[in-house]
């Protein structure tokens, strides 16, 4: 038994060392720095955290991040589930879904450039609309419509991959379920409501987690389009972190990052609990 433990430890050691040195240590070192003034090396305790919590811009950024995450993830779940439902009986569906997942590999900045040229008020979209409706000068990057290009970009990038996940879940549903349901109803909506949707709930949870992760990365695209200061509704926690970093307020920057991590963790826990409860039922 003892030998077994030693062997286990020997095999685990390389990974553990790598994890501690490359991941845990920098993480905790960064965390520790948030309790100090990095220029004077003075211990400031929770001052940075208190400063961040009281900061109205941080609170607004947190709210914006939550709203955007909720909107984008909802849209992602809906769209990707819809796509997978459409594809599930189609020949060559796996290949189509794989092709749809390709945008995930496209660098964010290059996509942003295309998006910029499409949605700018002098861009292609307004140009096309102008052909049909006369001079159209809609500002997609400001005002209430500004979420649209962001969420469309998010969907374009992630919906294919999410659909692929859903497709794997849908294809695993036994045919018998549908045959039994057909005895009562032939409606597609009933099949979706009573069979497809409940059966792919584990996939939905996974898509939500993936979506959450992807939303946290959408800062790059937003930054590429709006630069340092986007319109207020798109000012995310990442902007706050970045600006404080560039203002050499490292402690506040880390404090905000810690809050962001907790926020993501909280979301994940809530969804996990929801999934568990639903599965039990």
């Amino acid at each position: 038994m003892k030998m077994k433990k030693i062997t286990f430890a020997a095999f685990m050691l390389p990974f553990a060392a790598g994890f501690v040195l490359c991941m845990a240590a920098p993480l905790f070192y960064g965390l520790a720095l948030s309790f100090f003034d990095i220029f004077s090396n003075e211990f400031v305790g929770l001052q940075n955290y208190a400063g961040v919590i009281k900061n109205p811009v941080f609170l607004r950024a947190a709210l914006n991040t939550a709203v955007l995450a909720a909107a984008a993830i909802t849209a992602l779940v809906a769209v990707s589930f819809f796509i997978s439902c459409v594809l599930m009986r189609m020949p060559g569906r796996q290949s189509i879904a794989k092709i749809m997942a390709v945008p995930l590999a496209v660098p964010a900045v290059s996509v942003s450039y295309v998006w910029y040229s499409v949605f700018h008020y002098k861009g292609y979209l307004n140009g096309v609309l102008s052909v049909f409706f006369g001079r159209v000068n809609i500002n997609w990057f400001s005002g209430p419509l500004m979420y649209l290009p962001v969420i469309l970009l998010f969907l374009w990038k992630n919906a294919g991959f999410a659909a692929l996940i859903y497709l794997s879940g849908l294809n695993a549903i036994p045919r018998e379920y549908e045959d039994v349901l057909r005895l009562d109803s032939e409606k597609l909506i009933d099949r979706i409501r009573l069979i497809y949707w409940p059966c792919v709930f584990p996939q939905t949870f996974f898509v939500i987690i993936i979506g959450l992760w992807r939303v946290m990365n959408i800062f790059t695209e937003i930054y590429a389009v709006w630069s340092d200061y986007p319109p207020l509704p798109l000012y995310l926690l990442q902007h706050f972190i970045y600006h404080n970093y560039m203002n050499m307020e490292y402690g506040r920057s880390v404090a905000a990052a810690v809050f962001l991590s907790f926020m993501v963790l909280a979301f994940a826990v809530i969804f996990r609990m929801a999934e568990k409860r639903y599965s039990d039922e």
């Binding site: 990095i38 220029f39 004077s40 900061n55 109205p56 811009v57 941080f58 607004r60 008020y121 002098k122 000068n137 809609i138 500002n139 990057f141 400001s142 005002g143 709006w226 630069s227 340092d228 200061y229 986007p230 319109p231 207020l232 000012y235 706050f240 600006h243 404080n244 970093y245 560039m246 203002n247 050499m248 490292y250």
Partner: protein, 725 residues
Amino acid sequence: MTKQLFLFAFIILIFIFTSCATKENKGNITAIIGTNVFMEKITGNDQVIKVLVEEPESKIVYMIEKNVMQISRVNTNYSKLEKILFETQGNTEAAGNCVNENIYVLTENNSGEHLVCIYDSNMKYIKSILLNDYECGKYGYIIDLLITKNNYILVFNEGIVAYSHKGKKEGLFEGAVYGAATDGQNLFFITQTSSTILNRVDNLKTFSLAWSVDVNISPDSNYIPLSYGENKNLLLLPINQHGVIYAYGRDGKYVGEALDLYECEMFADELIKNDGRLWTVFNTVYMNKAGALEVSMLLLYDDFHSSHVYFNADIYVNEEAETAIAGRLDGKSILTVRGNYINSVNWKYPILLYEKMHPEIKIKIYSYESFAVTDYTVMTTTELMAGVSSGWDVLSMTGLPAILYAEKGLLANWYDIEGTEPFRDGSEYTPHMIDISRVDGKIYFLPVVSFGDYIYAHTGHPLFGEIEAASKTWTWSDLAYYMDNVGEDFAPVEMNMNYYGAVDSGWFNQISGLILYVTTPLFYNRSTDRAVLFAAAEESMENLGLFVGKNYFDINEKPGAFILRVFMPDELAVSPRINDLLEYTPLPLPVGSDGMRSVTLSEGYMIMESSGLKKEAAEFIRFLTDFNKRRHMNSTRVNRVDDFMQMFDEMDDWLFENGKPERGSLEAFLRKHDIASSYFNNACDYDIAFSASLLEAAYAYFNGALSKQAAIEEITDKLWVRNNQ
């Protein structure tokens, strides 16, 4: 009849007399004052620029003919030179190499004939030879005059003509010529066909080639300096070849090559052999259209085989090159300089010179010119936060948030280093330059260049007088008042202010680093246009500066006023629309709620608090700025208008797309910038990134893509974020 004969004879006598007189190009050299390397332009026909080099044992004068950049060497007694006057009656075209200590000068007399005049080493005239067959322009422009035992050789860029010492044309070569040299008997020259060929001609009458060799050099210029060295080798210095000097033997055999310790780049103009050493003349400023050739220094090589640079004649170090290299780092303090645009000639030569003057100091450069300003800023900020900047002494601040660094205690205070005000001569700086570098009463950086923003108001406007008077103390509200009172007085004009396209043109880019963008005309006769600007202004925007960019849309109307960001007003003078600009007067920006006006810091220098060489760093920065001051008419200098006007008088019209402006109006226009800038006595740095983000809302509004209310809200939101984050 007798009377007519007398008249005829008289005319003949006059003709003979004038002919003789014009053949005599007597002349000497004017007084040359100074020691070390010195440059002076002779007034009068402006044809010769002289360089006096003081060597340890003798003083030598080099004459530089401005059109051909040909240099001749005159061994002389310095004390005699002061009393000698050099004059020519026509145009001097080239100065030839020394033969038997004599100087040969190719000139053109008033009759258009060309002569070779011979002077002794004291520039005393000996005789002149008329070159009967020389047709100016037939073989391009002249690049050299060479003297051999039997011939005068005129080297053009498209041919070579050899004359006997009696002036009879003897030989001709037609074709592209890139450089030529002689050993006193034979001719060596470089031609270019599919590759670069070095040729030798022994018989100039027949011009038959003794040998030709491919020297495997691709010239980036139409001139390759070629010299016949004391060690009997031919030395080639291809321009833009990073200071590589190639050596070939008299038989055309490749001997070797030597790298300059420091890149010669495109500044090397000439090789001169002298006393077994090799001289390279470096022009730090090219000959401009006004004919000003600034020769800042001479580089001195020893003999070819140990060809390392000894910098500048006045600090010539007569030591073995290898020893010099080996000793460079031994026992020296290393002053580290870091920046993103510090690998230019502005830095290189002052550093070389400084190191020679301070043998105990070695300057080490870390240049990040391949980085964009924003990337460089992020990297530097990160490194400073990470505490890995302990080795840095001097930081060049182009684009860096100097004030932020100062606030974080990363920069040294100049008062602590020197105990005095760093601005030794305050008159050299515009007031805002001094003001902006002060943080809590201390000076943390030495600014060199900043951008000033001016409101250009049209002098023809009915309210102009009132506006000009009010501008000295006006606030943004005052400006708003005037804007509201502007009528429709300005009709569309034929003025292309579309800089968006123009910025792409290389020429415009060259001369107009000064113009970042033109704003929407504040006095535009559309009250709605102004609302966005002033909604922002009222929200303390004024201290950050909201300048609506011109880039995205055209202005087809003559504005009552506009805001222009200006780097160097004197360069503004050669912009294509200068005649239109003369109708405007630059006025200072309004004062913000805290009494400040915004400017943009650009180039400048900081000393790190962590540096162990603060005093040395301060001394080096002073040296650097002093060195470059005379080469740059930058915004630190209030007397630049005088300098510019001097050049303006000699500028060609082609520089001005719409014709050359009237001199008096131009001078008055430029001087007004100094007046306007004198009101920037309380300046703050301008946040370009933030301002640019505000512009997006303004652009959208001006393009009708956003309502006025929405634009104002967006700008207000961004202000709130910036001020509270």
